[in-house]
């Protein structure tokens, strides 16, 4: 999740100091995102360096306040209004793990998928259980519900994807498409050897 974009977005509301930014982002995402204050300050430094924000004088408590530059405002509006790119950056760890696992000898892929399904189903149940306690008519719960719903739909998609992967692997094993057990020939692939 983009901390940089979230900071810019909150700053469209007005000046904030670092700690305040953390509180704003956490409350506006329904308490689902715990952010380290150190990350906030590192990101603020980078945003200031890139000319997207500027700091003003310190307040009475000695806290530096930040505001958007014109460029920062454009960037915040772009992030809010344009669809997100999909591609390698949306690759998730589970897909990578399973893709690797089918090429590595000795991994029980069926067991791995099974264990993942149970884990995902439990997570889905826990999310739904929390949602049961919520009141969808209460406006203050909407930020949290939005994110809970995203997680619920992600869990459902993951379960369906795992089922699909299982079907694909059943077919490939019927066709005797075994995993590649050998490493690639280092002489043909990879980084060129350094001249000595």
């Amino acid at each position: 999740m983009s901390l940089k974009a979230s900071i810019l977005t909150v700053l469209t509301m007005g000046e904030c100091h670092g700690y305040q930014l953390r509180q704003e982002i956490e409350s506006r995402t329904g308490g689902t995102w715990a952010i380290n204050i150190g990350q906030i300050y590192t990101t603020l430094d980078r945003l200031e360096r890139d000319g997207l924000i500027e700091s003003s004088e310190t307040n009475s408590d000695g806290q530096l306040r930040y505001r958007l530059t014109d460029q920062g405002l454009v960037e915040a509006h772009d992030w809010l209004n344009k669809p997100m790119a999909t591609g390698p950056e949306s690759r998730n760890e589970l897909a990578t793990k399973l893709a690797l696992a089918v090429t590595i000898p000795g991994v029980d892929i069926a067991e791995l998928i099974h264990a993942q399904r149970i884990q995902t189903m439990r997570h889905l149940q826990a999310l739904t259980s929390a949602k049961r306690e919520s009141n969808p008519q209460d406006a203050s719960e909407i930020p949290w519900l939005l994110i809970a719903d995203l997680n619920i739909f992600n869990c459902e998609a993951e379960l369906r994807w795992l089922e699909h992967v299982e079907g694909t692997l059943t077919k490939s094993s019927a066709r005797k498409l075994d995993p590649t057990h050998d490493l690639l020939d280092p002489a043909k692939r990879g980084r060129p050897a350094r001249n000595t």
């Binding site: 069926a110 998928i113 889905l124 149940q125 049961r132 869990c155």
Partner: protein
């Protein structure tokens, strides 16, 4: 959740056909559901999920084993007592609603009570209460073809728990509904179960099953608790 057991299936076996055509739909299934508890049953197509539900509801008899609904053993009941138990205690919700098109919403919901001998006036009063708890009182005078699919399913659920019913059995109750409507239907159903009913929900939909207190899977005609981690990929339908 209370400790009162409303549904208790013990070693239930169900066999269809004989000889070479013999099919074992259930092989010693055990299931206990308490008041205030919703249990979801998942499993591959043809795994026996729906058979389990019809046996729990007294619509079919087990080949062997016992089915107890509030301490009454279904296989030992006389036909008229079984019919009474089904009418008074058990509510059913199916994917295709099963509403009677020539009756209004109110008449549909009141019907099970009237069939049970309750005076029309009292039956309709109870039906109005059931409609109110599903937040559809305003539909009382409409006919089934005048309301949406989601509203029809809410009516079907109201009918399933009208009067003194304690057990709610649902087979893919939101199968024909969109995601948002499904959620409002399961939320309403869950609320009713929290009030002291025992519910069994058969579904393919993981999102729906996640509303249950326990998610169980039928594999090889037996019920296995998913959370206990005793499942195999076949539990979820893998060949």
């Amino acid at each position: 959740m209370s400790t009162e057991v409303l549904v208790d299936l013990v070693g239930v076996q169900k066999t269809y056909g004989t000889g070479e055509n013999e099919v074992h739909a259930l092989r010693g299934a055990n299931l206990r559901v308490r008041a205030g508890e919703l249990v979801a049953i998942m499993g591959a197509s043809g795994s026996g999920k729906s058979t389990l539900l019809t046996i729990a509801g007294g619509l079919e008899m087990p080949t062997s084993g016992d089915v107890r609904i509030i301490n009454e053993s279904i296989p030992t009941l006389k036909q008229k007592d079984l019919a009474r138990l089904r009418r008074q205690t058990i509510g059913y919700v199916f994917q295709d609603f099963n509403l009677i098109p020539s009756l209004t919403v109110l008449e549909n919901v009141a019907l099970p009570l009237e069939l049970d001998g309750m005076k029309t006036k009292f039956a309709r009063h109870a039906a109005m209460d059931a409609l109110a708890s599903m937040e559809i009182s305003d539909l009382a005078k409409r006919f089934p073809d005048e309301i949406s699919g989601g509203q029809r399913q809410r009516v079907a659920i109201a009918r399933s728990f009208v009067g003194p019913r304690r057990v709610l059995l649902a087979d893919e109750p939101t199968g024909a509904l969109d995601s948002k409507t499904s959620e409002s239907v399961i939320r309403a159903m869950r609320k009713r179960i929290d009030g002291g009913l025992a519910g069994i929900l058969v579904t393919h939909d993981a999102k729906l099953a996640a509303w249950a207190d326990r998610i169980l899977v039928i594999r090889d005609g037996q019920i296995v608790d998913e959370v206990s981690g005793e499942l195999t990929p076949q539990s979820f339908g893998a060949k």
